[in-house]
Symmetry: D2
Subunit: 136 residues, 4 copies
């Protein structure tokens, strides 16, 4: 398993009338975590796109457990647990920074598209990056 | 089944570097559709909250099929297919307004909380609203 | 003066903990109004960009008068009052749909950039569109 | 002058079709900077609101100089230069973290409202916080 922990702080812009983070913002948090996870293994978005490859999201899923409050500090734990076949699967946990309580969990799936927008096999350099970083 | 069709137009603010709608924006579109669906059966958010009831999202899910482009006109088809037990389940289709192609599908689940933030039985007035509007 | 009135409804996603629309959302509303204003005179974003021209915002300004509430219906009144020199100036009023009360006012300025990203003279087809549509 | 420097990284969610940060996102960045500035002098939003005081934005202004790109690291320099009279004025600079180039500048004004939503004199504890922190 390849894993990244990324800290985020909740600001006013994220909070809704119920006093908790609005539900679509979690997908933005997931994107932050995912970006840092991929950067950690040398797969930053810029260099992926420079290779003519796009990784559009095909599925997003989030289970909301405990509402996030203003100025709360959280950790986005992003992880890759298995080699991609047709799609890359990334898991997320939203943790309370202080006590590590699980506030939400979710996942995203990503397709591999070439620069014509057509589905392609998983690029070698992505498989390599996963292997080098210890994915079994 | 109770169903609502809500038109939305894609603006620049929604579009990302790939030239398609950013993935979290779909959850905002779902919320628009859901609000109009609930309004249609007399369950507007304001009157639900006036009854001391909150309907926080417990799960969101979206499968992205075809990217939405700038100034594209879409329809959010929101529907309730069964009576809520612990949670209310709402389904969504994102349709191309012109040819009714399915661009994305998804769903949200919602808990019923009283004004202390505790789970509660499904309120009678909500069951009634669903019944009056023909849910089998 | 060229003017456009564009209706918008406030949804939950726009509302903050104070129960009013979060301040950055007004700039998204302005963009909706601006897009419709430009479309009305044949200057849709897609055809402007097809001409190799970008209109990036150089200044945004908003004076907030009365907070916008959930499910409130508003009108964005966008207007062009004078021919652009270095920049195009667009004014906005946010009006209560019901009683036409002014809820906010603002403006944006836009530069003209060619496809190399360099400043350019105001394109003829834009001046023409403004003239045909009665700008004095 | 009271000043705070707050680092931010640009993520995909902030980027528009032109490949630069969408213009309303700057107001979210300003809010992050402002929150950290006020926290630094003991005026966190939560404790201000616990005092029954709201600080709604009455004006926002931003001059955009150089577009912000994906994964760019920036600093939001927020500052208070003078004691508030009717409103609190906060200035912002968006700086390139690497070379300190100014990418954008702006300001916000904030009213002081009591818990009935009426304008009030500047609260003593806010004036004190500014004084203690060296504002001339």
């Amino acid at each position: 398993m390849i894993i990244n922990n990324h800290p985020i702080k909740v600001y006013y812009r994220d909070i809704d009338q119920m006093g908790i983070v609005y539900y679509s913002r979690y997908l933005e948090y997931f994107e932050e975590g995912r970006t840092e996870l991929l950067n950690q293994i040398g797969l930053d978005v810029l260099s992926i796109e420079k290779n003519g490859i796009l990784l559009p999201v095909t599925t997003s899923h989030c289970d909301y457990k405990v509402g996030l409050k203003l100025e709360q500090e959280i950790i986005i734990e992003s992880s890759i647990k298995k080699y991609p076949k047709a799609t890359l699967h990334i898991d997320y946990k939203v943790l309370n920074s202080t006590n590590k309580e699980i506030m939400a969990v979710g996942y995203t799936n990503h397709a591999f598209l070439n620069n014509l927008g057509n589905p392609m096999r998983v690029p070698k350099f992505i498989l390599n990056a996963l292997k080098i970083n210890g994915l079994l």
